[in-house]
């Protein structure tokens, strides 16, 4: 842009010179001086413009976690985070006197490859190494005894492919994604890079209910019109064999299996106005799908185990303030039948956590403020507070819903960006338990996250 500006200027100056051939020496000198003054003024304006545009692009990057100035048909992005946490932990379900433990976690290192074949077709792959990169997968072997869930330790050092999608941009109204794609239920999927969420860890309230950064194989049709974005997805569904008391349907995510049972598909609809990622948007999401058909041992449950999740979310930013929030509500049909089946399926071992909520809910609200100007510091310094609530077993079909997992927390913290690609976070939080014999517990955590794009 600067070059274009200068060439127009030079061209203008030349034509001015041509017209003043007949002028005297003094007039010429005067005119030249005047032109030089104008030139200096324009250069000064250009410099201001450049600084403004740089600041704007930096802010945009912070908000979206993307570098936009890359003009090429490929991109490699990487992000990751490491955590230190000191918290009150309980030894077992009966324990009401927590013990203080400190832990560190190399939460994730992610590599993301994007390649644009042409303006319409693009492929994106996201590889994730979690907790330093060890793990195992499960395989269901139907030929063993009465069917066996076998852990494949050979898969240790596992890399999770979070995303492997091809994207087709038909026109400015329609885009289609296919492959292994994100399920856009819950803000955690939109805001999963360390520079996109302010807390030291991603929203625990969401992770208590649904898979955090939910990825399934399927198709997503994206329609855009006048600020509205509608996403319609058909993806593989969940498997109710692995639903557990403490995080409801989240562990039903079939990523533990080598192959994913796809007899039950799920339908997701999400409608947004504005853009959550840049801090101005509001939206709803709806997920529905059966879960009994995807069981490996599928004769144990009568009923479809239909699952429905409704989510409301929004983000609003004004000057240095940003507020974001979410509410999720879910209901599960046949929860009693699933509970009984999980309890008596040979080899499944849900342990003590087979009872399932027929209803579950979670919510969070967060407020953050960039105090850079207030404290007159040269780098972004965000102060934030987050309220979170989750109850994965709000209601049960039989008996009493245990209150052990009904919790709320308030967190206060700070994000500091020494450079735009690195964020240092600190947070103190207090958790309140609905169960009356559990006192409030506290935690303190530090986190370092990075993001870059080449």
């Amino acid at each position: 842009m600067k070059r274009l500006f200068v060439s127009i200027l030079v061209y203008g100056l030349c034509s001015f010179n041509n017209q003043s051939v007949a002028a005297t020496q003094s007039e010429l000198e005067l005119a030249l001086e005047k032109q030089q003054q104008q030139l200096a003024l324009i250069e000064k304006q250009l410099a201001t413009l450049k600084a403004d545009s740089l600041k704007a692009s930096e802010n945009k990057q912070l908000n979206t976690g993307q570098d936009f100035d890359v003009k090429k048909n490929w991109q490699i992005n990487s992000y990751g985070s490491v955590l230190y946490k000191s918290e009150d932990v309980y030894q077992n379900i009966q324990d009401t006197n927590p013990e203080r433990r400190a832990t560190t976690d190399l939460e994730r290192v992610v590599l993301e490859f994007v390649y644009d074949f042409d303006p319409k077709w693009q492929v994106e792959i996201e590889l994730e190494y979690e907790h330093g990169g060890t793990g195992s997968t499960l395989e269901y072997d139907g030929f063993e005894e009465f069917g066996e869930f076998e852990t494949e330790v050979e898969a240790g050092g596992e890399i999770i492919v979070e995303k492997m999608q091809a994207q087709y941009i038909a026109n400015k109204y329609f885009t289609m994604k296919m492959g292994h794609i994100f399920v856009p239920v819950g803000l955690g999927t939109d805001l999963h890079k360390p520079t996109q969420y302010v807390s030291t860890q991603r929203y625990w309230s969401e992770a208590t209910l649904i898979p955090q950064v939910w990825h399934e194989t399927g198709v997503n049709l994206i329609s855009k019109w006048n600020g509205f974005t509608a996403q319609t997805l058909i993806t593989t569904g969940l498997n109710s064999e692995f639903f557990r008391t403490y995080n409801w349907i989240a562990t039903g995510h079939q990523r533990r299996f080598e192959t994913v049972n796809a007899d039950d598909l799920a339908f997701t609809l999400r409608l947004d106005y504005g853009d959550i990622k840049v801090g101005k948007g509001i939206g709803v999401s709806f997920y529905t799908g059966d879960t009994s058909g995807n069981r490996n041992n599928d004769t144990k449950v009568d009923g479809d185990g239909n699952l429905t999740i409704i989510g409301l979310h929004g983000a609003y930013s004004y000057e240095n303030w940003l507020v974001r929030g979410q509410y999720l509500f879910g209901s599960l049909d046949d929860s009693e039948a699933i509970t009984n089946a999980n309890k008596t399926t040979p080899g499944l071992k849900p342990g003590n956590f087979s009872q399932l909520g027929s209803e579950a809910e979670s919510a969070f609200v967060e407020l953050s403020y960039n105090s850079q100007d207030l404290f007159n510091v040269s780098k972004p310094l965000y102060l934030y507070t987050i309220y979170e609530y989750a109850n994965p077993i709000k209601k049960v079909e039989q008996g009493l819903a245990t209150d052990r997992f009904n919790t709320q927390s308030i967190a206060l913290g700070m994000n500091y960006y020494p450079i735009k690609n690195i964020v240092l976070k600190t947070q103190a939080a207090q958790t309140k338990h609905a169960q009356s014999n559990l006192d409030d517990s506290t935690s303190f955590s530090l986190s370092m996250g990075y993001f870059f794009s080449i």
Binding site: Q94, E145, Q355, Q435
Partner: protein, 381 residues
């Protein structure tokens, strides 16, 4: 793993011996100690399967039926006498279960029977919340609850109280709802002991009536689970090692702590009924049953002791003595004042006796791991 290590050790010794023999021309021919032995295992396996394991599960199922009846009597006629009878029935059914822990393999593991029957610790908060909020309980309902509000220890809590001051509860302290819950829990309990027995004697897969009884897999080897009798004997020995380890290093050592300031009574199993020492003793009696081949007091039958005897007669006797020593050491913990285990861990003198019991169990475990299990490699079938 241990088995592999021993094989490796044997291979290396053989190599060293050969190497030594080769290098010195005037050395005597090395004497190779003949450790191989033969033992006909069919009778032992048949006896252990039918007369120890299956008979034990039969006793458990019968005990569960008696206990269910006792709880139903208590619901119908809530008297101190019926409460005492129910308490005794609980202690009685506890015996075959604890003794059976010396062979927790097969259906008891695959069908998750163990957590359904014996989850510990108990979730007293949820249990009390249920009793405070529900009007009645049925077995069908109870079966869907989490394992930590049913099974042995839930029933124990309802029958004996919290066990802090005493292990006695009078009928006045028991609400109608508590006895109803107890009876429903006993009914669910009985269904699981029945499934366990059925899996051993009828069909090991409850979803497939044509699947073989689990006992037949042990009796007629060359199947998917046991390729040969060696596999069965190895499973039986490992079963005993498993419970010796659990009693010594888990059930006793965990609440015991590194010193008297570091005890944790919340980890004491069967603390409401003060039945812990009986539990631990029965666990090791279970080991004795498998080792000797018969329940205490019965006529002599073939057991693991006969297998060990074929390999090394001294070892066979030594292990038998170590089992008796371990049982005696656990029983001795109570001392003259008959301390229950949850009090004993907090008593300086008793702690010395507890340490002795841990040591006795540790000796026994070492003998099984290093001396008994390794005999499998010398066994010429």
């Amino acid at each position: 793993m241990i088995f592999k290590k021993s094989l490796l050790a044997a291979a290396i010794s053989a190599l060293v011996l050969t190497a030594c023999g080769g290098s010195s021309s005037d050395a005597e021919t090395p004497t190779v100690v003949e450790t191989n032995f033969s033992f006909e295992a069919t009778e032992m396996i048949t006896n252990l399967t039918n007369d120890v394991i299956v008979a034990g599960y039969q006793n458990l199922n019968d005990g569960a039926a008696d206990f269910l009846l006792a709880t139903q009597n208590l619901v119908n006629t809530p008297t101190d006498k019926n409460l005492a009878l129910a308490q005794q029935a609980w202690k009685d059914v506890r015996v075959p279960w604890e003794q059976g822990e010396s062979h927790i393999f097969g259906p008891v593991d695959a069908l998750s029977i163990d957590p359904h029957l014996d989850t510990w610790p108990l979730n007293t908060s949820d249990l009390e919340a249920l009793l405070a909020s529900q009007a009645s309980f049925s077995a069908d309902e109870l079966k869907t609850f989490n394992d930590d509000v049913q099974g042995f220890h839930t029933m124990e809590f309802l029958l004996f109280g919290d066990g802090v001051e005493d292990n006695e509860k009078s009928i006045d302290e028991m609400t109608t709802l508590e006895s109803e819950y107890l009876s429903a829990a006993a009914e669910v309990f009985k269904t699981y002991t029945q499934s366990l027995l059925d899996a051993w004697i009828v069909a090991n897969d409850p979803n497939d009536a044509n699947s073989p009884a689990y006992k037949d897999l042990l009796l007629t080897t060359n199947n998917d689970i046991y390729a040969s009798q060696l596999g069965v004997v190895e499973e039986l020995i490992n079963g005993m090692i498993g419970i010796i380890d659990e009693v010594g290093n888990g059930k006793i050592a965990e609440p015991f702590g590194s010193n008297i300031d570091n005890i944790d009574t919340s980890k004491v199993e069967s603390q409401y009924s003060w039945n812990s020492l009986a539990d631990f003793t029965d666990n090791i009696r279970g080991v004795q049953n498998v080792y000797r081949g018969e329940f205490s007091g019965q006529a002599d039958k073939a057991g693991i002791i006969d297998f060990v005897n074929a390999a090394d007669a001294d070892l066979a006797t030594r292990v038998d003595t170590e089992i008796m020593d371990a049982i005696a050491a656990i029983e001795a913990i109570a001392g003259e004042s008959d301390l229950p285990f949850r009090q004993a861990i907090n008593d300086a003198d008793a702690r010395v006796r507890i340490q002795a019991a841990i040591d006795a169990l540790s000796t026994l475990q070492t003998s099984f791991e290093n001396d008994v299990l390794t005999k499998l490699q010398d066994w010429q079938q």
